[in-house]
Symmetry: C2
Subunit: 385 residues, 2 copies
């Protein structure tokens, strides 16, 4: 397998799934559905394996490659989903052996990639949250392993891949599905339906966080590049049209040329917006920041020293514009975490680190200073009868 | 200019200088020597401009491209160094103008790239710190703009580009040069020598920070890639030889296959070592961590949860091995900053962010929470008579 495909941003795995759905291949989708102890990835992590043994995505750091390929071949042959458990707890007696040990026990669902996955891909492409519900164990009931329905937040109910109401499924799954879709997390829900024990894997695919970068200088490139690797959907907004944004910023998902005063007309700015303001022009920055503060954006990172923003506030004040504490609390200036770097990539690294932390509601301390599991366990109330 | 060349890691600018020194071109080196107010880059930031107008490196975010190209052409023609001042303070009356404003006033030294720069490049290639001293103003004295000597920490004195003692230069410059070389910072020193006012730009080029990554899984790739972009010199160390490290990790500057017990034989581990331990094998990690703790490494990042390291400490204890507080304070586990991400690139981003912060002796808080200038001013005692 080529190196490029093993460790790619999650968005690329889903893009690859999209491409392969359009083709004639017989790909196998492998998804971690459960983790015990500590593993490299969380539930929901995916890999796509094709017939040639090429993989995109990473479920483990490398321990299971051969096992997964063999399992995928088996699934491809009989066409049925399989649920496999890999116990990767360190074998300490195996000091002189292959030393293949990783951490933890992981359960992996392998299934042929079929049209039943299309609604997930379409939601992703449209920037909509969605939850993918897949039966792991159906007991003796009407549902069997691999059966699938969806929860689209805009519908508020479970629907089949064809878009029909999912009448064979318990409605009580809608609530955990909604929660997981919003948070982009995955979990197993166990419930008893009509005397049958049902185990359903709910995979919440949250639409990528939108990052809007205002500016067109060469320092925008590294920010865009690193943000894309971190699974943000990046829009670069330039003013005055003197720069070919698409050519200069190939990592951007979207580019837009507009005027500073028209930012809130041409863009959707709301509480889900993460914005980096780096036009290097005081007037343009000020106009942009004003509209972002008005939009209740989740994060507004402003490049420059703090007194530059103080000057903006003074001018706002003179114009009779004031902003409340909540709006101002989303304004970060000087932008970025204090990592000490000064080169373009180091600056970009600190900016993207800050946006990541804020979007995940984390204080950017050393993990060493935190307690508990790295991947904090999510709690989903299993619907009980 | 192609996008790739404007925003590159600093190490790539120096590598490009090395390549161009070997060729026949007439390149111009542009270096920021002073900054007033707030500018995008610090003193020492460089760009290399060739005859075709292609540039590598970024001095500004884009404000000065045309100016710099024209100035470089002029320098190329008359072959003499020039010192130019660009006042980029925002012109607030120019609201409807080109809006070219950036922040700050920068002084830029432009000079033809000549053999006088070779000792800088050789030191960089060898992994040695070095300070490049260049005359900005010589007054009526024997030194003129562009004259250059070096400070190599291993020599402890000023030497000409040919390696001879720099007898025409004030010895008092050695002390600030030593300090700046160690810290990789740049500053102007003004002094009066034999009644002549001398202004010297001292550019400290610290050898890139060495990052050693232990592991060969697919999660090592993103760590190596992001570290390289942040100007670390990356060595990947794999155990057992089953993986072609060079092929899998093309971003690594060096790769090494060895056995876990031989780490301190095959590598130089000391107080300048920054290490990431991520073999996913408990025994291998433990052996590696033990040797790193013994070496007084500056940073030891260990992947996995805290109780995994607690287990190592228990085993060390049972074997009668103890480590003092100072050694243990350099051990970071779980590794990385708490940014909340779980994908391979997000994990790598948090790891590299932590290493950056520790190597620059910063607490990884939001810059918003800090006071003062982003690029903290360095203080160098100007030698006075």
């Amino acid at each position: 397998m080529t190196r490029n495909n093993w460790s790619v941003p999650e968005t690329e795995v889903l893009q690859r799934v999209h491409e392969r759905l359009e083709g004639d291949g017989a790909d196998v989708l492998a998804t971690i559905v459960d983790v015990e102890g500590n593993a490299y990835r969380r539930p929901g992590a995916k890999m796509l394996l094709d017939e040639a043994g090429e993989g995109v995505g990473a479920i483990t750091a490398g321990c299971l490659e051969d096992d997964l390929l063999a399992a995928a071949e088996s699934v491809r042959e009989h066409g049925q989903p399989e649920l496999l458990t890999y116990d990767l707890m360190d074998d300490e007696d195996d000091v002189w052996g292959l030393g293949v040990g990783c951490n933890g026990i992981i359960d992996v669902l392998l299934e042929p990639l079929t049209e039943t996955y299309r609604p997930a891909i379409e939601a992703f492409a449209d920037g909509r949250d969605v939850a993918v519900l897949t039966v792991l164990e159906g007991g003796d009931g009407p549902l069997s392993r691999g059966d699938r329905v969806y929860y689209h937040p805009e519908d508020g109910e479970l629907t089949t891949p064809d878009g029909e109401p999912a009448t064979a499924w318990p409605e009580t799954l809608a609530a955990p599905a909604a929660s997981l879709a919003e948070r982009g997390r995955a979990d197993i829900v166990e419930l008893t339906e009509q005397g049958q024990d049902l185990e359903v894997f709910i995979d919440g695919l949250a639409a990528p966080t939108e990052l809007v970068v205002f500016g067109s200088g060469h320092d925008v490139g590294p920010v865009t590049e690193l943000a894309a690797k971190n699974d943000f959907r990046v829009t670069v907004v330039g003013f005055r049209g003197s720069v070919d944004l698409e050519e200069r910023f190939p990592d951007a998902d979207e580019t837009l040329t507009t005027s500073p005063a028209a930012v809130d007309d041409d863009l959707t700015l709301d509480e889900r917006t993460y914005a980096v303001v780096m036009t290097h022009n005081f007037i343009d920055d000020r106009l942009t920041v004003e509209q972002l503060l008005d939009s209740s954006a989740a994060y507004i990172g402003l490049m420059g020293p703090h007194d530059r923003f103080e000057k903006m506030l003074t001018e706002f004040d003179e114009e009779g514009r004031t902003f409340d504490e909540e709006a101002l609390s989303s304004l970060y200036t000087p932008i970025g975490l204090d990592l000490g770097g000064g080169s373009p990539y180091q600056i970009a690294h600190s900016i993207v680190a800050e946006v990541l932390a804020v979007s995940n509601d984390r204080a950017p301390q050393h993990l060493k200073a935190r307690e508990g599991h790295i991947h904090d366990r999510i709690t989903v109330d299993s619907p009980t009868q």
